[in-house]
């Protein structure tokens, strides 16, 4: 049967056919004479291309893509990268199912009425005409383009995709949703303490003698890092996992702590107090390479006890003492600070407390040590696609400035009299509703699925309904597309040229165009070029973006000598032989103890932090007060990255429906049995789903994985998540983060 469906025996088909010369005379409308004969194609041969996963994941894998007759046959991890090491995650291996999914968005289309499902195909020219006319109308009516908003984040990384921001600049000064829903509080915290966010090479974790994985689940979210954790363990390191959920990473650790959610700061400070009392402080480090340690020690003695930390966190005092002593005695010891643990109203403060724990034990600047959070040290591209000039005479916002997100590479620009208007990406709905003079009336969405990822979904729908025109650039039909007027089909990684680096490891991977873009898909920069062409047709000079671009040339324009030197290559084409790793003096960040802080030292006391409205010392900060009965946790699912991948058939095979995970004791009190359908509700909205009972979650917790979409489901966790801000993030990323794990709700059986 399988053989049958592979179809059409060639032998039988070829029998009797000898029409090559007559092809032009055949009565076809579509099929065209083709000179290459079947014999020209050998089934044994593959073309191999280099690709780089653009999904904003720790691992940013280098991929080898095998193409036959113009079709991706299979992919594998690049062996040349010691990090990727020839393997991909499940999501990565599913890429051919993405590019060839029958569900891909194939053509530019317009919807006659949002959420009606009444879609019509339009040509690219028609789509651009409607978009350009709206842009010109805004400019005419408002006198500026501040009524045009851009919300874009990291759903499609690859340096040339910054051409989306470039396209906006090339139109004029617009309204930008800035900040990051991901990691901002921790970025600020590390900047206050160390002067930058800069982590050790993850590959040096093998040298660690003690690893604490704090609020991260690499067994799901950074599978390639696990081999270093496991190798360190094999060499004798102890692995402690701290998480409110018993994760697969926790299952692989030696010690698992399940603290009260958002009590991380108390736990870290309790450990710090015990290390202080036990005389295990690294005096050389605190005396010679830090400022403010004595004040921090005074704070600990006056305000913190191990018993207090035990009470706050729920972790027994004796265990806190043991782990603290072991951590301080091991050399080197490291802490991996996950992004989940800073998505709280006290998240930045908690990261500072953990940084302090690593610093006071002398583990900063040490190979195999470090307070590992992330880095942007290998991102020194030209940002040619990003840095486009506003048209002559463009009018913008007065009095703006500041960073436009975590990956803002525009800071070198000379101060202009006008700027873009910035609003908080973590309050998308509220910003659309509140922004006036001029109001945001048109929104461009790219590399992002706000309805799956932005907070307070009910409010978001209301906000979208106030907009005149929503344009989504997408690969699949998300709820955001459903709430759009125009959708533009964008290429996958196999269909465009770009280059990628990681915020975790130190490799750089080339992304080659491996196949012809399918259907009518175009890359973000090609879309920008098309828009520019139409804008200039309708209003000469209204857009500065080049109108004809060669995407391979645009990739080349991102490289410079600095990048070549960092990675030890002479030209980007060297990357065709495999990914390259940055050459570093040491695998340890801050190995020379030359910190980026104002004092040039590690700052236990940060005046900058104080100036920005926080405590100077890494003191305890109370978490958000519960506003309902249960805590709601909405972490990443295993086989998805936010809403990406989860619509693919492989993933649906494993996750046929979303579940709410609940502790059996809590369920019993509510009269809920395994697989009952329940309603989870709070002040924001509600979610309905079946329940799975598990002791992996705490009794006061309801866990549901972040994303789900598809025609058969309305499940959306953002119906339960409000847009409460986290404490930090505004300093380095332009807006505070969001306290998305400080959410609460009640549950009832249906």
């Amino acid at each position: 049967m399988k053989e049958k469906n592979s179809g059409l025996s060639r032998r039988r088909f070829l029998q009797g056919i000898s029409a090559a010369g007559a092809a032009a005379l055949l009565p076809c409308r579509f099929l065209m004479p083709h000179s290459a004969q079947a014999a020209a194609f050998s089934e044994q041969e593959y073309q191999v291309f280099r690709n780089a996963c653009p999904r904003n994941c720790y691992d940013t894998c280098s991929i080898k893509t095998y193409v036959q007759d113009g079709v991706v046959k299979f992919i594998e991890g690049a062996q040349e990268s010691t990090f990727t090491h020839g393997g991909l995650c499940v999501k990565g291996y599913a890429y051919p199912r993405r590019v060839y999914s029958p569900d891909r968005i194939k053509y530019p289309m317009v919807q006659d009425g949002r959420r009606t499902g009444n879609w019509r195909r339009v040509t690219w020219d028609e789509a651009m005409d409607r978009i350009a006319r709206k842009v010109l109308e805004l400019k005419e009516q408002d006198g500026s383009l501040l009524g045009l908003g851009l919300t874009k984040y990291s759903g499609n990384f690859g340096i040339t995709n910054y051409g989306v921001e470039g396209m906006m600049s090339s139109l004029g000064y617009t309204t930008r949703f800035v900040g990051t829903p991901c990691w901002p509080a921790g970025i600020d915290a590390q900047n206050y303490d160390l002067g930058d966010m800069w982590c050790n090479d993850p590959e040096d974790m093998v040298k660690s003698r003690y690893i604490i994985i704090w609020g991260a689940n690499p067994a799901w979210c950074s599978v390639h890092s696990m081999k270093y954790v496991m190798e360190a363990k094999r060499r004798g390191a102890k692995v402690v996992v701290i998480d409110p959920v018993f994760t697969q990473t926790a299952a692989k650790g030696d010690v698992f702590w399940q603290p009260e959610t958002s009590s991380d700061g108390a736990l870290a400070l309790g450990m710090a107090r015990h290390i202080l009392d036990a005389g295990l402080v690294d005096r050389d480090f605190v005396n010679n390479h830090s400022v403010g340690f004595n004040e921090f020690a005074d704070y600990l003695r006056a305000n913190v006890t191990v018993e207090w930390a035990a009470e706050r966190s729920g972790i027994p005092a004796q265990q806190i003492r043991e782990v603290a002593e072991e951590f301080a005695s091991a050399d080197p010891a490291t802490i991996w600070i996950g992004y989940g643990m800073q998505r709280h109203t006290n998240g930045g403060a908690s990261v500072r407390a953990i940084d302090a724990l690593v610093a006071m034990t002398g583990n900063v600047g040490k190979e195999g040590g470090g307070a590992r959070y992330g880095h942007l040290r290998t991102w020194g591209f030209n940002y040619h696609a990003l840095l486009q000039k506003q048209p002559e005479g463009a009018v913008g916002f007065v009095g703006g400035g500041g960073p436009k997100g975590d990956f803002d590479f525009t800071k070198e620009e000379a101060a202009a009299s006008y700027t873009d208007r910035t609003v908080n990406i973590n309050k998308t709905a509220q910003a659309i509703l509140d922004t006036k003079d001029p109001a945001i009336r048109m929104l461009w969405v790219s590399c992002k699925n706000p309805f799956a990822q932005d907070f307070d979904r009910p409010k978001l729908e209301k906000a979208f309904d106030t907009l005149d025109l929503v344009v989504s650039v997408e690969q699949f039909f998300t709820e955001t597309v459903s709430n759009s007027d125009i959708v533009l089909p964008v290429t996958t990684l196999f269909e465009e040229w770009t280059v990628n680096v990681s915020y975790w490891h130190y490799w750089m991977g080339l992304n080659e165009q491996a196949i012809t873009p399918m259907f009518e898909t175009k890359s973000n920069i090609e879309i920008a070029a098309l828009l520019s062409k139409k804008m200039n047709e309708l209003s000469p000079g209204s857009c500065t973006f080049p109108q004809e671009i060669d995407t391979r040339e645009w990739l080349e324009k991102e490289f410079n000598q600095g990048i070549y030197d960092t990675f030890g290559i002479s030209h980007w084409t060297d990357l065709r032989n495999g990914p390259a790793k940055a050459r570093m003096a040491s695998s340890a960040s801050w190995h020379d103890k030359a910190f980026g802080t104002p004092s040039g030292k590690y700052e236990f006391r940060s005046e900058l932090c104080e100036q920005n409205g926080h405590a100077a010392l890494p003191v305890y900060k109370e978490g958000r007060k519960p506003y309902d009965v249960f805590r709601v946790l909405t972490p990443h699912t295993q086989f998805g990255l936010h809403s990406q991948f989860i619509n693919l058939d492989w993933m649906k095979e494993y996750n046929k429906e979303p579940f709410i995970y609940m502790h059996p004791d809590a369920a019993r009190e509510k009269g809920i049995a395994d697989l009952d359908t329940v309603r989870v509700f709070n002040k924001v909205g509600e979610v309905r789903s079946r329940v799975k009972l598990t002791r992996n979650v705490a009794k006061d917790c309801l866990l549901m994985y972040e994303a789900w979409f598809g025609p058969e489901s309305t499940f959306n966790v953002q119906n339960l998540v409000d847009d409460e801000a986290s404490d930090m993030g505004a300093f380095k990323t332009g807006a505070p983060g969001v306290a998305l794990h400080d959410q609460f709700a009640n549950v009832e059986k249906l």
């Binding site: 399988k2 049958k4 469906n5 592979s6 179809g7 059409l8 060639r10 039988r12 088909f13 009797g16 056919i17 029409a19 090559a20 007559a22 092809a23 055949l26 009565p27 076809c28 409308r29 579509f30 099929l31 065209m32 004479p33 083709h34 290459a36 004969q37 079947a38 007759d69 113009g70 079709v71 051919p96 199912r97 060839y100 999914s101 029958p102 569900d103 968005i105 194939k106 053509y107 289309m109 006659d112 499902g117 879609w119 019509r120 195909r121 997408e474 699949f476 039909f477 597309v481 459903s482 959708v487 196949i515 012809t516 873009p517 399918m518 259907f519 619509n647 058939d649 598809g710 025609p711």
Partner: protein, 217 residues
Amino acid sequence: MPDSHTGKRAEIADNETLAALRDFFAATGAADLRDAASRIAAATGSPLPAETDWTTAEYLFNRLFVGPAAVPAPPYASAYGDDESLLMGKPAQAARQAYRSMGLAVPRQGTIPDDHLAFELDAVLALRSLAEASPSSPAGPHAAFITDHMACWLPRFIQAVRANLPSGTAEGMPGPPEHTVCPVTLAVDTLAAWLDEETRSMAASSPHSQNTNSKEE
């Protein structure tokens, strides 16, 4: 020999009907649908109601076959493969090889999968023309393309379309359902009838094909 069956399938399987079906499934908008469906209606004697709303028909057509939402009835052979419900799979390669054997290829190869229904119907027209041009050659290629390839997926495609057609006036067609002929219904019924006649006549004409067909049912 196909010629001996020409009379039998003339009503549905004439070239004009096939060309109209091809153009229907290749439609990019309401105007294309109206043109192709009218030709199908004329060829099959199933007139469409004068009040047919072609924009509504376009919405339905896109919902079933184009997108942007996940499509319940993708018009590509590969989407119905047993082991892979992906585009550009083995059936697409088979179609590509078939076209190559005739010295043909799809335009901008690699953009629209080779096994799109419109391309395959185009290929059937080419095969017919070839068979007519050299009556001495056996029915092999024509029969193989239909019975070994198209007949493997079209029944499932037709079933998927029918299962996802809204019933009665929900299609946006005025009047009571029994008097309504939806353009998509007309096209898919015509396609089903054509496939049915083709496979039956081929099975009758070739004992070799009969053996092959028995595996398919």
